[in-house]
Point group: C2
Chain length 327, copies 2
């Protein structure tokens, strides 16, 4: 099997070809810009890894793998417009660097580009490939809709939150693995097991994000700590804290809702206070437990695969890398 570094290099080179760019160039420049900014390339990497479990000629899976990366970036591009975000991975967002109309239209063109790339596969996998991609793409939209609706609610349950991040984040990770396996001709049960695995991994990944925002090491995390707290972002920690505090109906509930209603206070003060409430409710620990549950479940899905034990080891390595990350 190829190493992760080899696969990353293949992805980099394929993206550098910019074969999707046509005329007018102004339509494609924002797509080139958004794809230049690096990122972890997690999704195409997982697609290639899944393909590589069954076949050696991974270069044949490069275009669909990149199609998934383009789709992912397109959703970020439109999300950034909706959130009016200024920065993405340290660079100006497309709608800030150009304008909103450019971001909408180039995003639309990126989605079509994704479909173009996704369909590079043997004819016999085409229908299942497109069907699967359609389902995943729609789920991502559904997740984004739930996410926007949750922002104005303070009674989001843990179950609702987990469903939302599953749709918004995990299905695309799941779909990347499934698509890679599918176009390699993997057995249907393996495709299903990899989809499950990706779902659990995505959940663990997102909860880790939520956790690190509060409890990350400021020197390793890269972003500043407490960003979610300052903006009242509905993270797993906040959803869980609200749920626990509400049940108590005591002082913690009053304090927490007071902080959520507080505007224009000193960010550091709010971060310190809300973190103290999280500590009191033990939500950091509870988040870590939930992450462990998902990791365990992803390992169980992995065990079910029909591939050689040594191949599974590569996957375990990825799981470790993703879940032990500090940033």
């Amino acid at each position: 099997m190829h190493t992760i570094d080899e696969l990353r290099e293949m992805i980099r080179r394929e993206l550098e070809k910019k074969e999707y760019a046509g005329e007018p160039r102004s339509l494609y420049d924002p797509i080139i810009y958004m794809l230049e900014d690096g990122g972890k390339r997690l999704r195409p990497l997982l697609a290639l890894l899944a393909y590589n479990l069954y076949r050696d000629d991974v270069e044949k899976a490069l275009k669909p793998a990149i199609g998934i990366e383009i789709f992912h970036n397109y959703t970020l591009l439109h999300d950034d417009v909706m959130d009016n975000a200024r920065l993405r991975r340290g660079r100006l967002t497309v709608h800030k660097k150009w304008n909103r109309n450019v971001a909408i239209l180039s995003g639309d063109a990126a989605a079509i580009t994704a479909y173009r790339y996704i369909e590079y596969c043997d004819d016999r996998y085409l229908r299942r490939g497109i069907d699967g991609f359609n389902q995943v793409a729609m789920d991502v939209c559904r997740g984004q809709q739930y996410d926007m609706e949750f922002e104005t609610r303070d009674d989001v349950s843990e179950e609702e939150y987990l469903k939302m991040i599953h749709l918004k984040t995990s299905v695309l990770i799941a779909g990347s693995l499934r698509h890679g396996a599918l176009i390699a001709g993997a057995p249907e049960e393996d495709c299903a097991a990899l989809y499950e695995l990706g779902g659990f991994l995505g959940q663990a990944f997102q909860l880790q994000d939520d956790y690190l925002d509060v409890y990350g090491d400021v020197n390793e995390f890269g972003k500043s700590i407490g960003g979610d707290i300052v903006t009242n972002k509905k993270s797993y920690l906040l959803v869980k804290a609200l749920e626990l505090a509400r049940a108590e109906k005591g002082k913690t509930w009053q304090e927490l809702t007071r902080w959520l209603a507080t505007k224009d206070c000193e960010p550091k003060k709010k971060i310190r206070a809300v973190t103290a409430l999280y500590d009191r409710l033990n939500v950091g620990e509870l988040t870590q437990q939930k992450i462990s549950d998902y990791i365990r479940e992803s390992r169980e899905s992995l065990d079910r695969l029909s591939v050689k034990e040594e191949f599974k080891e590569v996957f375990r390595e990825v799981v470790r890398e993703l879940t032990e990350r500090k940033k």
Copy 2:
């Protein structure tokens, strides 16, 4: 063959099923809303007519035909956001009725819905069907990008304008015919001839729109006359007028550019003055000539089809209906 009214009724009934709507309903309500407003259903109608040239079981082509209609409406939805339009066919646009984020995200979901519907076809046509749809969808984006760029230029050539409307409007009409024929198993040359035919028809259709905005009968046109003139919209008439007046470098050029630079004047006065300049430059007549050229070319494409003469007659009827319209 089915009559146009029969086909329209089938389209109406299929759309009424709303099989695309899922959860959260808030994501799909704007799609339902935009599809409720009627419209001519020109594109699905053309897809069914093309299918019906080769096969009788048109109900099998209903879902892809509707996929094209959904795609068309999705492009209008995002265009309306970009243009900040308030009304569409007499009703509030989605971003005015809800908000901009809803319009962006539900538009994205509508595009995916279109892909879902498009792929209803026999496996052997799937790749060509998706390929063709991807090309058309991307061309529509390219056309919209050119259109936005042309708004800030006053040196757009006739050739550039015709290319822009071809991409923005005609390719989808062309693609509707091609897709209908493709999934009916039509010969490749017929698919190509129908694509050409649709392209010419689309051009004629768009130029007729431009013409009626200035020279339409106010009682029949529905919209108020002169809207394009008031907003300086780059119509074929304006592009042609600028081109002719620029070549003269005389008084007409000065007058025309002065009116284009005029803000906040009485609309009726501007419409009267610019129409007089159009009359002087004979652009109404030139537009009618151009439309006739396209109609003639579309008839030539039709003649090349391998189908029975009586079937072609149905198409001639559609061409007539489209091009002799007064609104």
